[in-house]
């Protein structure tokens, strides 16, 4: 796993970008925060498009910027792929020439991504001879992603690549971003202020607010344990888990999943056994029982958990943060908390009414 270390302090017109990052980079890392929190500026600093006077940036073993030594590699000397908010395709070339523009400019030994592979993953084979202005917005953005991938980057930066697309086009591009990571194993930094995208895509998050990084870590850990998660509209999230398909029960129409040796059941899925599946749990769907129940229950999903934290929400309800190998939040009433007499470190059983797939947490 590569490490990203970066320090930038850059005065901007309305605020100051002040970032000190030291994070592992693997899978898809979302840079998430409200509009105007400095996400794009951070990305441009990482790419070398903005230059912070005392900046420092290291990716893996390679130092790309170290102003104390007067060093700052220009973007074209960094092994970075960059996809902008707008596709920025070259209008005087056709799709093929756009795709191969960067590919032709790297050495043959450095070519780890083949054009055929990218064309297939992105589904743009039928567009190769088209002029740019004959493409739809979604098609243009896919070509822009392909063009960036064909430079065989060590790090792919995506700056809200779906921002300019309508919902339908978004759904056209989103699966490709997930797939390209699974096929090509290139770590992705993904700037977005769209929660839905992030819940579907991200493995890790870098959370930004007013030019500062206010949280980093695995998606589920950050989104369930954050103090101001209510402000971000995350208050309904119980957990976002990357589970694996174990078994299909055709008789009852259920698919059995495994997460950290916990069994979870969801309505049957057309996903092969062994494959990963991202599931969402709403905190309102989690109820707590003190002992393993001997009385029959209709609840299928019962997880053994430890109480980690109790958080006041309002007059009547509290959030109980549980540990199931990763945080899981149960929203219960204040009265239930009192009746159960929950203490930190106590063993409980979390009964989960439904495990959702790609559900919207955002209202």
């Amino acid at each position: 796993m590569s490490h990203l270390r970066a320090r930038f302090d850059l005065p901007l017109s309305t605020f100051r970008l002040n970032v000190n990052l030291d994070v592992p980079i693997s899978g898809i890392t979302a840079i998430f925060g409200p509009s105007g929190s400095g996400k794009t500026t951070l990305l441009r600093c990482l790419a070398g498009l903005e230059r912070a006077p005392q900046g420092f940036m290291q990716f893996g073993e390679e130092v790309w910027q170290d102003e104390s030594r007067g060093r700052c590699l220009p973007l074209y000397e960094r092994p970075i792929g960059y996809v902008f908010q707008e596709p920025r395709l070259f209008p005087h070339y056709d799709v093929r020439s756009n795709l191969l523009y960067g590919y032709k400019r790297i050495s043959i030994e450095a070519r780890r991504v083949a054009p055929e592979q990218v064309i297939e993953i992105l589904g743009i084979g039928h567009l190769l001879d088209r002029r740019i202005h004959k493409l739809s917005g979604g098609e243009q953005q896919r070509v822009a992603i392909g063009r960036a991938l064909l430079t065989s980057p060590k790090l792919l930066l995506l700056d809200e690549p779906l921002a300019s697309l309508d919902l339908q086009r978004k759904q056209e591009v989103l699966p490709f971003i997930r797939q390209l990571h699974e096929h090509l194993r290139i770590p992705v930094l993904y700037v977005s202020h769209g929660l839905t995208e992030i819940l579907q895509l991200a493995d890790r998050v870098i959370l930004m607010k007013e030019g500062h990084v206010v949280g980093t870590g695995l998606l589920n850990e950050v989104f369930t344990t954050l103090h101001f998660r209510g402000q971000l509209g995350l208050h309904r999230i119980g957990a976002i888990l990357n589970a694996r398909v174990i078994h299909h029960d055709l008789q009852y129409g259920l698919t059995q999943l495994d997460f950290n040796n916990h069994a979870l059941f969801v309505p049957i899925q057309s996903v092969p056994v062994g494959q990963a599946l991202r599931v969402h749990i709403f905190s309102n769907d989690v109820s707590l029982v003190l002992a393993q129940t001997v009385v029959p229950t209709s609840i299928l999903n019962i997880l053994k958990a430890t109480v980690v934290e109790v958080r006041e929400i309002d007059q009547s309800s509290v959030d109980v943060v549980l540990d199931i190998g990763t945080p899981l939040v149960a929203s219960i009433t204040r009265k239930s908390l009192m009746l159960l007499g929950l203490k930190l470190g106590q063993l409980v059983f979390a009964h989960i009414k439904t495990v959702a797939l790609n559900e919207e947490f955002v209202e």
């Binding site: 220009p74 902008f84 070259f90 202005h133 960036a148």
Partner: protein, 221 residues
Amino acid sequence: MTDLDLSALWVTVQLATTTVIVLLLIGTPLAWWLAHTRSRIRPIIEALVALPIVLPPTVLGFYLLITLGPYGPFGRVAQVSLAFTFTGLVIASVFYSMPFVIQPLQGAFEAVGKAPLEAAWSLRASKLDAFLTVVSPIALRGYISAIVLGFAHTIGEFGVVLMVGGSIPGQTRVLSTTIFEHVEAMEYGQAHAIAAILLTFSFLVLLAVYVVNRRFPIHVS
């Protein structure tokens, strides 16, 4: 047309071509700088570049004559007078036609913006590579306007030519000064022929510029 007129035509074409080439070479970086700089001296440079549009050509010619002549700063250092030579005429034309090349280029570079350039850098193109393969093709219309206007305006100059170049046949006598000579000598027929050529040429050039700008829009989206 007489042999003298033909040699004037030849000198004119050579002068305009050389001037445009020189202007493209120095105008491209200057126009690029003007299009993208945030420097405070930008308006000063822009005003200086635009000066020949409003300045009487004789004023420009007068100063250039003094500068390039044997007793001017250039003449003293180089021990050579460029006044009344073809080289002197090229230098004068470069100043005189500068706004007609710089302004279309600057406008085109501003329209292209930084976005395609950054995209090219992200695809491993060095600065020069990105400029040649991405910026210039997108700014193509600006280049066509700059070349056509610079060429046509150089052909149309008169005051500066007379001041700096005189009208030495085969060296500095161009079409515009030839008309003047013919009229002075009461040779109206010959003056008519050259005037008609210049009128037709100028009209066709401007027509070409407008047609190109309308017919071949470059799709940037």
